[in-house]
């Protein structure tokens, strides 16, 4: 019940929607996680998707530019690149897999055009500026996007980065607060700016 995620606490439904919460139903809004109109991908295509170590390193750099190291480790430390490949391989429909793969290429071409280097060889500033541009392009695209239009590749990358990072052990326990067994409930606890959010 991804839709009911908006209903913040719906018992079984809510408990289960923590899955979609973990999936980020709203954020990873691509139809990969929703039933609506999902066509099973061609199994062979999915199995044929091989990401190299180099691809993973490249995706790590993209992820780390989206969520860099600050007072807490960044997305690369949380191995988000490898996570992205698992998700694209196992969870994406064939058409979305293609968009993602083409997007990896497009993004690198944009890097070459902008700073004459592969993305991974750019400086952190160059990478950041490029991704801001692509993010703006993505946002612009989504403004006019119809439901059936394909998802923008950078939206996929950003969503997978957020999902992969905040549900990673580093993200959940360092960037956020993770308490496996709270043991009690306090419905009205003081909060001050800067206090971290609960991971789940």
């Amino acid at each position: 019940m991804i839709a009911a995620q908006k209903i913040n606490n719906m018992n079984r439904r809510q408990a289960l929607s923590r899955v979609s919460l973990i999936l980020g139903g709203a954020i990873v809004g691509a139809n990969i996680f929703l039933e609506g109109g999902c066509k099973p991908a061609d199994k062979k295509a999915a199995n044929g998707l091989d990401f190299s170590e180099q691809d993973i390193a490249y995706l790590d750099e993209i992820a780390d530019t989206i969520l860099p190291e600050t007072s807490t480790p960044g997305a690369k430390a949380a191995k988000v690149g490898a996570f992205m490949t698992v998700m694209v391989k196992d969870c994406y429909e064939e058409a979305d897999q293609k968009i993602f793969l083409d997007g990896m290429q497009k993004l690198n071409e944009a890097a070459r055009k902008k700073f004459d280097k592969d993305f991974v060889d750019g400086s952190p500033e160059q990478r950041h500026d490029l991704l801001v541009e692509i993010e703006n392009e993505q946002k612009e695209y989504n403004k006019n996007k119809k439901r059936e239009d394909p998802t923008h590749y950078f939206r996929m990358m950003k969503e997978l980065t957020l999902l992969g990072y905040f549900t990673s052990e580093i993200g959940a326990t360092q960037a956020l607060r993770y308490v496996e067994t709270p043991g009690r409930y306090d419905g009205c606890m003081p909060y001050k700016k800067g206090d971290k959010a609960w991971a789940i």
């Binding site: 209903i7 913040n8 079984r12 999902c38 989206i66 801001v132 960037a175 067994t181 009690r184 789940i200």
Partner: protein
């Protein structure tokens, strides 16, 4: 037991079956509980219960393989990586959808008591009188007073936490201390009370999670991972509660992998003699004999057993002489309501994951009000602060985005209504003999839909939610209807209804099949109307009541 003979056979091990086994064994009967699926051992088999999200390769999500394997489950939230093994294998166990019907099943020891929502509400006098007053379907053969002591009985044992609200439409029970509303919910509840002059009530959900140590079980630890199985046994399930009690008597035999294909019937004595079982692993056919049979296989499957039983006497199956077997299928319709943002609580948060929300009991069509539909709905919902998945429009990428998302976002609150579905004769299940499951058994064909009464109600379900949130000062309130198909509520009810007349009902006032009085059906199949409350507590109470009656009849040699 010699020659597979017992005093009682219980078919199914979910909420109702577990209660039947507990009550019958505690009253001294030798009982075999037959479960079609595998065993899931308490605690030991809750293999994902304590994992962090990072321990799941897809962080709980669904793969294309899962989507291929679970064409029904994928339609809504249940399909996920974390408790996939608790859901029924759809390839082995198909069914036919004459109209779309989402059937979310759990075939294993404990059934859906492992994954249930745990919301536990009594039906009220108004609910038991409703059909008679409205002149629809048939009258319940019982009234609130008949069930009230049994609600007491099951609440005391199962452990239901809740607040006593003194509302006639939602009778109070034997509650453990209520869970706490958070600060936004408390304020919204107070404003609703004031605005509607006490005519509408927002209270904390009544839930089968124990808030104090209870019957050797540990109190809820506020992990909100109930649907993975609770290593603390803090919510009611067969495994945490009724099964250990039944086992402790020494009178219980539990047999997993036992698909009951039919009730065996003796036309001379007009009674059942036992059941036929197909061993799900070996395909061997075995007969078990007993004085009484309790069908607690979940609403649709208990009726499936009846449809497939004694067809030499009644071509339509045991209980079909009424013409109502398989008919009057109900669910609760939902997925509509309203949500919005609460301002002024930026300095407030909460600790712990409360596996429960708020509840707004029915307020429509009470006290003489007449809407353009009959019956009503209740709301479930709650308030919380948004997490990292929220949109942060002004921040695109980089350190600023990351820092922003590590803090909680706005408080939001949502209300989702659960509405009563009327019992329509034409909403039905039948046997499709041309479609077989893995064991060669005919499968169910399901043909049902909601109608005008439900559709009109849904408009109020949206608007009333919006009105209440706005009255409570919530901002940006939006109502929603995300669409509903029968089955999605996972509250299947009816198809073997109770009644006062064998010509128009399948079961009598003690849940006995009119056509075979030593066969009892005490799960959702027996429901004569649906009310709008979550139904499982009522199955528990009716099961305990029927078990008590069955034992007393056995003692009197009436069965």
């Amino acid at each position: 037991m010699a020659d597979n003979v017992y005093d009682a056979i219980v078919v199914g091990s979910g909420i109702s079956g577990g209660w039947a086994a507990k009550e019958l064994t505690e009253k001294g009967l030798k009982v075999i509980m037959l479960e079609r699926g595998e065993n899931i051992e308490h605690i030991k088999d809750y293999v994902n219960a304590t994992k962090g999200p990072w321990e799941f390769p897809h962080r709980g999500g669904r793969t294309q393989q899962m989507i291929r394997d679970y064409p029904v489950l994928k339609r809504d939230y249940p399909l996920n990586e974390m408790n996939l093994s608790y859901w029924t294998n759809e390839k082995d166990c198909p069914y036919v959808e004459v109209k779309r019907f989402d059937w979310y099943r759990g075939y294993h020891v404990g059934g859906r008591s492992l994954m249930w929502g745990r919301q536990s509400y009594r039906l009220s006098e108004m609910d038991f009188e409703a059909n008679a007053k409205d002149g629809i379907a048939v009258d319940w053969p019982i009234r609130y007073k008949d069930v009230a002591p049994w609600y007491d009985h099951v609440e005391r044992f199962a452990g239901i936490s809740g607040n006593k609200d003194g509302l006639p439409q939602l009778p109070d029970g034997q509650f453990l201390p209520p869970m706490e509303m958070n600060c936004v919910e408390k304020d919204v509840a107070a404003r609703i009370k004031t605005h509607f002059k006490g005519q509408r009530t927002m209270t904390i959900g009544r839930v089968a999670n124990i808030t104090a140590p209870h019957k050797g079980r540990t109190a809820c630890q506020y992990r909100s991972k109930c649907w993975l199985g609770c290593p603390f046994g803090a919510y009611f399930s067969t495994q945490s509660s009724t099964l250990p009690a039944a086992v402790a008597t020494g009178n219980l035999t539990l047999r997993p992998y036992s698909i009951v294909s039919k009730v065996l019937y003796d036309k001379d004595t007009k009674k059942a003699t036992g059941v036929e079982v197909i061993d799900a692993e070996t395909n061997n056919v075995i007969e078990y004999k007993a004085k009484v049979v309790f069908l607690c296989a979940s609403a649709l499957n208990s009726t499936w057993v009846l449809l497939n039983s004694a067809t030499d006497i009644w071509p339509g199956g045991m209980g079909s002489s009424s013409g109502e077997l398989g008919h009057n299928l109900m669910d609760h319709h939902f997925r509509c309501g309203a949500s919005g943002r609460a301002e002024g609580y930026e300095d407030k948060y909460y600790f712990g994951r409360r596996p429960n929300g708020i509840y707004i009991p029915r307020f429509r069509n009470l006290g003489g009000e007449k809407r353009d539909y009959i019956r009503g709905f209740g709301y479930q919902g709650g308030a919380s602060r948004q997490g990292w998945k929220r949109e942060v429009a002004e921040l695109s990428i980089g350190a600023g985005l990351k820092e922003a998302l590590t803090e909680p976002g706005d408080w939001t609150i949502g209300l989702g209504a659960f509405g009563e579905t009327l019992p329509y004769h034409e909403n039905k299940i039948t046997l499709d003999k041309n479609t077989k499951d893995k064991w060669g058994l005919p499968v169910l064909a399901i043909d049902c839909e909601i109608k005008e009464n439900e559709k009109k109600m849904r408009i109020d379900m949206m608007q009333d939610g919006k009105e209440m949130l706005e009255a409570a000062g919530i901002k940006d309130v939006k109502s929603f209807d995300n669409g509903y198909t029968m089955g999605m509520g996972i509250h299947e009810m009816g198809t073997a209804r109770m009644g006062r007349d064998p010509k128009t009902s399948v079961l009598n006032e003690h849940n006995q099949v009119w056509d075979a009085k030593n066969v009892f059906v005490t799960d959702g199949a027996c429901m004569t109307s649906a009310a709008c409350q979550n139904p499982s507590l009522t199955y528990m109470a009716l099961t305990a009541r029927a078990a008590d009656f069955a034992v007393s009849e056995l003692k009197k040699r009436n069965l």
